[in-house]
């Protein structure tokens, strides 16, 4: 194949393939980015919905607590509040402040509990007027939606509106004068929520501190469960500590969430964070790599397809060449004996030769040439039936030693005629074998013919029989010129000849060894070539002792 053709092949197949591949990779990386963005957005919206739900609950809760506070019996504020605190797990502390740096409750006394002492200390800045209570109108408009609330939240809201300690009053009318508010209070990095109410600008301020532990404890039981194995939704507090998480694995790097949404307003500095175990980015890059692999497979299939077609074409070309040379050599082979036969038969037919000896010689030549012709035609016929698998084998049991002796006695003369001494190397023993006798004869004949044709200069030939457990090895050893190195692998191919030129010294079709090998393989044996060190070649026939033919 010319270089130009090869270059053409590269251009037409490889270049478009690589262009397609490059485009696909670019598209893929874009798709990858888009998917990542989508995943982040989806997570963000999920975290937001959790944050909204928690925020809504907390806000509603605060509203309810303020309503409850506003409904406290003004004549007995202290007892109502204390009672409320004792019964309600959501209330941590209650207080009444006179707006003049003095707390009416809890009073500093011998009976101060440690909790109360800490409470007063915590809000010192507030009660000593260093930080003002916010002036914020109570929002009566906020409506409590309960339809979509889960049971846990309902319970929580029920706690906030639990005001069994006083009679229900219509406080909404008075609410114009009410001021109220919530103070998120950070102390030593912990969040506290303080709600307060005042009936008018001069009346004492009273209120409650929410028990955050209860609030958290109730909120987290409503925290949605994640079904994913590779991500964790977590409620993270102002100290950057995980309050609660839903998800199967341990959060390793709390400071670096995948997505984080603040719970602004209701619980300042708190947030809902989403963490991944790294498999999410792996997963999406997995998509990229998978697609890349697909592209590579696509490319390689294009290229290998091209290579395959190229090889096939080359093979077809070679076979066509071989067949041409086969036809030429076979024609030559047929023509040579035919020429002799025609010549001698013409001589005989013109009846000018009267010498008995000459007549005899002419007839012998015609006979031997026609035999040669028969062998050639037989070989060709055999080959075609072998190729098509139509060859039928007839298995009989016979003694191989006997067979070889018989063969050598018949063909010794032919060897001798070419100046070759034939030796047999076999022990006096029975070598029973069950195989096709006629085929064996053909195998022996082909190999002997090869020796006679190509190795006559060696003067010696040996047929050696050896036995193994299941096989017999019969070696045909000659001292001829041997087989050139480059041809050793190809000699069993059909039509192959060492010298393919029409002017070849030796005649032949290039089918002998191919047929022999095929027959032996069909009979469960093999034909092996080994060069002989001192020059010459050795063909070893391996025959299975007992062939079982498949029908």
């Amino acid at each position: 194949m010319s270089k130009r053709k090869i270059i053409f092949y590269w251009i037409t197949i490889l270049v478009p393939a690589f262009i397609i591949g490059a485009c696909a990779v670019i598209l893929l990386s874009h798709e990858q980015d888009r998917r990542n963005m989508e995943a982040i957005q989806a997570l963000e919206s999920r975290a937001e919905s959790i944050a909204d739900s928690i925020g809504f609950t907390v806000e509603t809760l605060k509203d309810e607590l303020i309503r409850s506070l506003a409904a406290v019996d003004e004549n007995n504020i202290k007892n109502s509040l204390v009672n409320w605190k004792n019964k309600n797990p959501l209330i941590r502390n209650v207080f009444i402040w006179d707006r003049n740096e003095r707390l009416l409750f809890p009073e500093d006394s011998r009976l101060f509990s440690s909790e109360e002492r800490l409470f007063v200390k915590r809000y010192q800045a507030l009660f000593s007027k260093r930080i003002p209570f916010e002036k914020e109108k109570m929002d009566n408009a906020s409506q409590v939606k309960t339809s979509s609330e889960s049971s846990g939240k309902k319970e929580l809201l029920k706690l906030a509106s639990q005001r069994t300690f006083i009679q229900e009053r219509d406080y909404s009318k008075e609410s114009k004068n009410f001021s109220s508010g919530w103070i998120p209070w950070y102390m030593e990095n912990s969040l506290y929520l303080l709600g307060w109410v005042s009936r008018d600008k001069k009346a004492p301020v009273y209120g409650v501190e929410i028990e955050m532990v209860t609030l958290i404890s109730r909120l987290i039981t409503d925290f949605p469960l994640t079904t994913e194995n590779d991500m964790v939704f977590a409620l993270v507090d102002g100290k950057n500590q995980v309050i609660h998480q839903s998800g199967p694995f341990e959060i390793k790097d709390i400071d670096n969430p995948f997505v984080s949404v603040p719970l602004s307003g209701s619980l300042p500095l708190w947030k809902i964070s989403v963490y991944t175990d790294g498999s999410l980015s792996k997963q999406s890059s997995g998509f990229f790599y998978l697609s890349l692999i697909l592209v590579l497979i696509f490319l390689s299939s294009i290229i290998s397809g091209g290579v395959l077609i190229f090889k096939q074409a080359q093979k077809n070309y070679m076979e066509a060449m071989q067949k041409t040379s086969f036809v030429a050599s076979v024609s030559h082979e047929l023509k040579t004996p035919l020429t002799s036969i025609r010549m001698y038969s013409e001589l005989l037919s013109c009846q000018k030769v009267n010498d008995e000896k000459k007549l005899k010689k002419y007839a012998d030549v015609i006979k031997s040439e026609s035999e040669r012709l028969t062998r050639l035609v037989n070989n060709i016929l055999d080959f075609s039936s072998l190729e098509q698998g139509r060859k039928k084998y007839c298995l009989t049991e016979f003694d191989l030693g006997e067979f070889i002796k018989n063969f050598s006695s018949i063909h010794r003369q032919r060897f001798f005629d070419e100046g070759i001494e034939l030796y047999l190397d076999l022990a006096e023993d029975k070598y029973l074998v069950k195989t096709d006798r006629d085929c064996m004869e053909q195998v022996f004949l082909n190999l002997s013919d090869n020796i006679i044709k190509y190795a006559a200069e060696g003067k010696h030939a040996v047929i050696k029989l050896g036995a193994e457990k299941d096989f017999y090895n019969i070696s045909f050893i000659d001292r001829g010129p041997g087989i050139p190195h480059g041809h050793r692998k190809k000699i069993f191919e059909k039509f192959h000849r060492v010298d393919t030129s029409l002017t070849a010294e030796k005649s032949g079709s290039g089918l002998g060894l191919a047929i022999t090998a095929k027959i032996l393989k069909d009979l469960g044996g093999d034909l092996v070539f080994t060069p002989v060190k001192e020059g010459g070649s050795c063909f070893t026939v391996i025959i299975s002792k007992n062939v079982t033919m498949e029908e």
């Binding site: 797990p89 941590r92 404890s217 109730r218 987290i220 039981t221 609660h244 998800g247």
Partner: protein, 450 residues
Amino acid sequence: MDKLNKSRIKFFGIIVFALFFCFSYSHASSDKKIKVVIETDRYVLPAGDLKTAVIKITLDAPLSYDSDKRPPVNLSIVMDRSGSMTGAKLDKAKKAAIEALKRLGSNDVFSVVAYDTSVNTVIPAAMGGYTEYAESKIRSIEAGGNTALFGGVSQAAAEIRKNLNERFIHRIILLSDGLANVGPNTPEDLGRLGTALLKESISVTTIGVGTDYNEDLMTGLSQKSDGNTYFVESAKDLPSIFSAELGDALSVAAKKVAVKISLPENVKPVSIIGREGKLTDSGVEIFMNQLYAGQEKYILLEVEISGTKDNSNIDIASAEVEYLEPLSNEKIKIRKTGQAYFSKNKDKVSASENINVLREYHLNINALAQEKAISLSDKGKTKEAAKELKSSADNLMDFGRKYNDREVMDEALKLEQKAESLEEDGMSKKLRKVLRTNSYQMKNQQTEKE
């Protein structure tokens, strides 16, 4: 009942009392009611100015009901399944939980929550006792991950809350062998969770397994929610502890026990020894979530008494006990007034020691000493801690010898051994747990189950 009236006309008071008892007898037979006894550390108290005394208010719960007639329980078991529980611990815990489940009846409610890094409800609260399905669910619990103790208890409380009505005895049993490291994790936070749960009548019993759990956190949670606490060093004791705990939960004789102790003007409360309670101007308020059948719980109150006359008899304290009878959920109120005799005769006073009160007083003081030793050793003062234990042991031994009280002497010996091992090897994880648990068990009068 009016206090002033009582102090003025003593006998009238007694008659009214008798009437009150008759009235309550009509509700329930005498053996099914809590017995209240008020005693002082001496039968004869020294008269005169400002003297301290110890008042013991004992609540004696009646013996158990018939086994087929008991208040239903609403039980939630919280199981730590963090990585460290792998193996025998978790297996035993599961077995114990299944045994506990088998003991429940068709009226009881049962749920199981397991937690590691996150929390999941293994069996949601359901009525009806043992089923094979429930057993298979418990068996399927596998270990791994961190410990979200707070979340676990919260989830269990949510399961309990599904049936939060007065009919049930609400109880969470928490079993853990490790530190809480997801969510709120300080003893204070968990204590406050306990306080909040107690307001809903939910008690948390904590069982610490091995020597790696946080005993302060676990006992704190129990103490604030009026539950029991246990320390088991090896998992093989788990089933017996579970069964003891369940025995308690199944034999509750009184629920929501509120004790209001009123003191006359010349008796000022100084402190409540051991128990959690609230001092008010005129007395003390104490709340217990439940009393177990046949069990005796008491309150030791240290008071200052002033202005008493020689040879006088005054009402020293009056207790108002209000509780729910667990089967019928009837509210029962008992009032009892304790009197004390005052004398200036020193011989009389010193000869009138009430061993009953003094014994418990010393044991409780001993419990407090153990806590002090823990906090001292936490500050690195191991020697002082050992000294504290030793002196407490000595005091206890003196007391034991004086009254020939074997039990107290044994306790003193045990404590002395602990003091010695503390001095030699420092505060081991195990010793700290033993001290913390014993101290709480003493203060709570939790009967030690072997």
